[in-house]
Subunit: 200 residues, 4 copies
DNA sequence: GATGAATGAGTGTTCATTCAT
DNA sequence: GATGAATGAACACTCATTCAT
């Protein structure tokens, strides 16, 4: 996916690509610093060190910036998770690695991501967008080796995701703790019917 | 809790209370119809059939409307859940009843509630607000009769809540299905170590 | 002059007169406390302990309150000056007594008076209003016993008044000092050709 | 002093400077025509032939327009006085020249200046602002060659200024007459102990 | 292609005034 | 006569977007 969903003119020259990047980075910073209320095109352009006219050369309107940012952040998140998963770490089970990757990726610059994504959600068709946030396409099977039903896959992913999301949003103190990670792992395994260690 | 957190002058006359109700109902409708972008004081007042001055007599500013609406919706949700729980229905286990209540109460006018609540979250201290959304104060114990740790309670509640929330937001077709309810129940029971029927 | 220039119905009953007084006193307090910016009819009515409807029964509009207040304050000032002048104080020369009276009368609740008077000036015909602020009607004569010309009388009065006014407005530290009083006295006497003591 | 105390962005392009001037000129005209009551940002922008957005590009808020106008008018006044003083006119004594300059400079567009200045006074610290309105920095000495005390200098300046101010405000017919000028000159000289011609 | 000055519709909010109760 | 809820015109100010330079 191109970083900009719909540009007036797709940038080919490096300078143009740099401008796009500056704008997106500035957008993330403005969102992080001032929240959605302070997110306006002039502020973004100013922080990007780009004129407002240039900004509009690359983004058709304000919400396109948000959309591009959401795409960029989602992609960055996906890559971060993938990177952790691909580390060849035999001591860590795949599901635990996944959860750890998610939590860590979530914890950084969460505000900008959250706002961008929620702005996206506010505008768009939810069902259509849901797919974007799937990261692990691998088929999951239960303890008996049966693939999950559609409903089961939904519940498993959204439950774990929801608990992580809430932890980030509510700023709980145990966000990066081993105990929290353990419980998320247990949740997934118990649901799938794997034997789980007793709770700490 | 009074529907209006802090009015400029507490309304005594019935006409006044009616105005407050009109405004909140109008606010919910505007949110439902146009989203947060279309949520402006003039539109709310117009739809409420009330002058803008009257609106400002009861709400000190725009965000107070949102806060009052979130409070009203949360309270309505709580009451709906309670009502379902209090139905003397011996055929339904308490955890299932709870989940059913949540899903059903969530399903109606979700957009207004979601936006109001998220506006609330955008402004306020997350940790402090989290408590408001707890509905069931009952202590939960695992299959061995031990009370849950703080982290466990958090994970259990937010996981189930997150899956329901995602289902509502994404508008999944199985939202009100028995299968979905079953899986949520299984998720909770498995996590707590209760024997669960095999997945459908 | 009636305290209220033009009432909708001249109050005869004591309760009505009391309401008028409450409103004017409240107006002075509001002006003193918040300046002209905070001077609004609802605030005045509230502080007067009177409903807004009652306020409008006695004052046709907002500026009538200001006019009545200016009249009241001017009259109070006039009476204060007269009272000081009428004290049989043989040790104080009449011109000095006058100046002292003015400065002292000016110094108290100056903000409300100043605002009321300047609001008055902002609306009305200056020439017509000027007469109101003449307090001492006595004819002044110069050292040779000749009456002052119209221009001379104007210059004398406005010069002394202007210096006092500026001292009040600028909040100088010597406002109530003997030195300041002395200089104002010297100014008047020198202008009239009387011998003056050398400056301190 | 720059005409604009603090712009949001200092204008570089000539078009921008022209906008600032248009706004200030329009502000003076609106003040002159409608008084402070009619002084609103939309009216100023409209009369300036400038959009409201442009107005706000150069002035952070409404009162900044007033402040800038007061500064501009004060400066214009100062320059006018200086110009008259610098005319090499051996027939006119310096004190008379000063008074003449003041009166003449005061007489034009007095309303706008008065309102702008009084708006300034209404907001700001009086003592701090007083200095701005000093025009002649020259030390004044009395007939015996002694410098004036602080109180004396205050009384002298404010007295003459007050008489002029009152004459302008009250619109007296003798404002530009020789007689008025003579009396102001006499007032100053008598106070300082110089021999004065007998009153006309 | 870049710039940034200009635009103006839109929005939150105030408050003088009215009038049903 | 008193009350105070309701009204709505008015206004300060923002910001997405355009376009002359």
């Amino acid at each position: 996916m191109s970083p900009v969903e719909k540009t007036r003119k797709t940038p080919r020259q490096p300078r143009a690509q740099a401008s796009v990047d500056f704008v997106l980075e500035a957008a993330a910073q403005v969102l992080e610093a001032t929240g959605e209320a302070g997110f306006n095109t002039n502020a973004v352009a100013a922080r990007a060190g780009v004129s407002i006219g240039t900004l509009y050369r690359y983004f058709p309107d304000k919400s396109a910036i948000l959309r591009a940012l959401a795409a960029r952040e989602t992609e960055a998140h996906r890559l971060a998770v993938m990177a952790i998963l691909n580390e060849d770490n035999p001591d860590v089970a795949p599901d635990r690695a996944m959860i750890r990757a998610f939590v860590r990726a979530f914890a950084g610059r969460s505000r900008a991501r959250r706002i961008a994504v929620s702005a996206l959600l506010a505008e768009a068709d939810h069902a259509e967008l849901a797919a974007r946030f799937e990261i692990d396409g691998r088929e999951v099977r239960d303890a008996r080796g049966r693939p999950l039903s559609r409903v089961q896959a939904f519940v498993l992913r959204r439950a774990i995701h929801g608990a992580m999301r809430a932890a980030v949003l509510e700023g709980v103190d145990f966000l990066l703790s081993r105990a929290f990670e353990d419980e998320l792992v247990r949740l997934g395994r118990a649901y799938l019917g794997y034997p789980v260690p007793r709770a700490a």
